[in-house]
């Protein structure tokens, strides 16, 4: 359990660091990838709704605290996103390697749209619809492009951190 918490914590800190440094420069037409969204979706895909919701909540809260902006909105968004993606696993029957990338693209777009709507309802979203749409689409695309690199890494870390069953004879 502790190993699992450490792995998830390290992954989240790493992606937040990358998002605020390297990917602040490596943008796609001015838009950076939403790595915490991607990590939440991938953990939810691998481990199910409960784990997805917990990873989403913790990752979202960490991002909220770093942003110095209204706290809790990203945590709420990613909690819902992680839970929803985790639930959707049972409906995915295709073994295609494209499934994680498609899920990341759709999940990121839906999550960012949800985040924008909640921020707007709180009166803290001054961005025009055109810019918001551009960010949602490009961040979703960027996430999908990065998924083939991130998914094997996260799956390996996730499997390595799972508790092993001990069989005594």
């Amino acid at each position: 359990m502790i190993r699992r918490v450490l792995v998830v914590g390290l992954v989240l800190i790493t992606v937040l660091l990358l998002q605020s440094t390297l990917f602040g420069q490596l943008t796609l037409l001015g838009v950076r990838p939403e790595l915490v969204y991607m990590v939440t979706i991938l953990f939810a895909l691998l481990d199910g709704p409960a784990e997805g919701a917990v990873v989403g909540f913790v990752g979202g809260l960490m991002q909220d605290f770093l942003l110095n902006e209204p706290k809790g909105i990203t945590a709420l968004t990613l909690t819902v996103l992680g839970y929803t993606v985790g639930l959707s696993r049972q409906f995915i029957t295709s073994p295609s390697p494209l499934v994680p990338a498609i899920l990341v693209a759709l999940g990121t777009a839906a999550g960012l749209a949800f985040h924008s709507v909640v921020s707007f309802l709180r009166g803290e979203f001054p961005h025009p619809i055109g810019f918001t749409t551009k960010v949602i689409l490009l961040a979703a695309l960027y996430g999908a492009v990065l998924t083939p690199i991130a998914y094997p890494l996260i799956r390996r870390l996730d499997e390595g951190a799972r508790p092993r069953r001990v069989v005594r004879f």
């Binding site: 605020s20 440094t21 602040g24 770093l66 110095n68 706290k71 001054p126 810019f131």
Partner: protein, 269 residues
């Protein structure tokens, strides 16, 4: 989900002074060294200049900068990037000599959101940085406005860039001497509003910060810091005011070193 809603509610009720804000500052303080390390790895050339922002006194800062400039001189012929950084640092040195009570800092992170335009610098309260202090770049001849400090920890500070939609300041047009309010619009040019519709404005006219004092409260920035140049004149859609778009004078995509001015910080009127 309930926990998320509780956090949103607590944050909404407590504003910027509650325990959640404190947690945010603690998170930023913990991340700043890591961000600095990562930035150092991905931009190795910054290591060469990292001492710039850590020097204890102005005298030391100047001496160290001069030493760095001497070292840089030897590399200029072969390295165009070094030349650019040399000129940037030389300009910053001149700017710091004009503003002795200022702090040089290195940009260590670029924020984490697509909807927020902030950077993190590697100087904090231990260097005398406070919230609302202006941040500039440029040379002694032409200081250019970057933004203002919005959150500070012991060793780092968040700077809200002038292009952030939450940012607004008083500004004045260089030629017509018309004043107005300039606001960030994210990835688009700045918007300067509250301009008298009959004002004659030329494209490319420069826009500077405007100082003011109302009932003892001072404006956000000192006067005469270059903000940008008029990019587009927008016809007035009513008879009361017009606005122009302003192209920022700073290239925010490649911001490495800045100067924080320790002017008296008061809430803008």
């Amino acid at each position: 989900m309930s926990a998320s809603l509780a956090v949103i509610t607590l944050d909404y009720r407590q504003g910027t002074s509650g325990p959640l804000a404190g947690l945010g500052e603690a998170a930023q303080a913990a991340m700043a060294p890591l961000q600095e390390a990562v930035t150092g790895v991905i931009r190795p050339i910054e290591d060469f200049f990292s001492g710039l922002a850590h020097l204890p006194t102005l005298e030391d800062q100047n001496r160290e900068l001069r030493e760095q400039i001497e070292v840089l001189k030897t590399r200029i012929a072969a390295d165009g990037e070094s030349r650019r950084l040399y000129e940037e640092l030389l300009g910053l040195l001149g700017l710091q000599q004009l503003n002795p009570d200022s702090v040089a800092a290195t940009v260590i992170a670029n924020g984490v959101s697509n909807f927020s335009w902030k950077v993190t610098i590697d100087q904090g309260t231990t260097s005398g940085i406070q919230v609302d202090q202006p941040v500039i770049v440029g040379t002694s001849d032409a200081p250019r406005l970057v933004g203002r400090v919005v959150r500070v920890t012991e060793t780092s500070a968040d700077v809200e860039l002038i292009i952030d939609p939450d940012h607004a300041a008083a500004a004045i047009l260089d030629g017509s001497r018309e004043t107005g309010l300039i606001e960030g619009q994210g990835d688009r040019d700045l918007r300067m509003s509250l301009i008298t519709p009959t004002t004659e404005i030329e494209g490319g006219e420069r826009v500077f910060t405007e100082a003011y004092e109302v009932r003892g409260q001072q404006g956000r920035y000192p006067p005469d810091i270059l903000i940008g140049a008029v990019a587009r004149l927008v016809p007035a859609d009513n008879e009361l005011e017009a606005y122009v778009t302003v192209k920022p004078a700073v290239d925010f995509s490649d911001l490495r070193f800045v100067l924080v001015l320790k002017v008296p910080t008061e809430e803008p009127a």
